[in-house]
Subunit: 169 residues, 2 copies
Amino acid sequence: MVRLGARSGYEIKQMVDVSIRFFWTISPAQIYPNLQLLEQEGLLRGRSEPQGRRPRRVFEITPAGEAALRGWLTAPGPMPFELRDTGMLKLFFADALEEDDALAVLTEVKRRSEERLAALRAIEPAAEHAAGDGAAHPLLTLQMGIAFHRAIVEVCNDFMPRLAIGSME
Amino acid sequence: MVRLGARSGYEIKQMVDVSIRFFWTISPAQIYPNLQLLEQEGLLRGRSEPQGRRPRRVFEITPAGEAALRGWLTAPGPMPFELRDTGMLKLFFADALEEDDALAVLTEVKRRSEERLAALRAIEPAAEHAAGDGAAHPLLTLQMGIAFHRAIVEVCNDFMPRLAIGSME
DNA sequence: CCGTGCATGTAAGCAGTTACATGATTTC
DNA sequence: GAAATCATGTAACTGCTTACATGCACGG
């Protein structure tokens, strides 16, 4: 994130929230200690740049940091994928419910994905602009997020008639 | 899971691994203490049923347990969705790489999803069979998993030409 | 002068995993 | 008789979150 222009811990958090949040979250309590560690290891160079009397520490990536990033990106080995979704969990067990209650769960799962779809589409123009000047991959991951939630909504729509017809009988 | 026929902790783990693993994982260290808690709360009823000299405790759901399940399923409130994917994280930052290295990351992400797609499709017949007798929702969540990974593969395929053409210039 | 945003950081706690420990039964 | 599977459970650790603590700057 520092490499992409986020100078302070605060800016990193902001950038995360409008870019990778869909597949990776972090909290301030993670950021600040790690900035210190990365500086100690020589992967970042930091300096104090207070704004008025408010303390502020800004960072830039070092050549060693660039190399470490590329090393990590090209390293072979597993790339852990972890999904933990209470919505799908509820859906899985929804056969225990009456049909209209099951339909309510399904509707809520669908609504949630539509909401996220809208949020992701809102940042699409910015990602498309960034793709114009050398940063094409953020747009790629954004499109994966969009495709993912669109797929969920579609599966919900396909399944809804079955529940609706069922509850009419 | 007990309600769906998994009698022991061991069987629960097995059932999880062929059903909800795509969106929810658990380890034995979680299962056994929780079985004890659920029994104390009267939501499960357990009894020892050793096989030969090997100890074994089997459980069945109580009416209170059924009610608690339905209560949880219909409870309003947020349904946390957490995704943590190292593959997408690497893709996001892949602009720091040469085009052929970036292509390698993309290929690996695609391969991974194809692998999972195959694993999910392998359990589809079983889910379709279960859908015939009252358990339609497991098939629904399975289809979401399939749709998800198919969407990822499609986005990968759409993006690959851009990288391939780029590296030819 | 008050609310919002900028900015940094610590402490406590929690949910979950890995590793360990044990041992019986079945299958080859 | 060795290996895989069945079966249960604990202890230590880890990564991450929440809550807390602090205080400046700026717009209204």
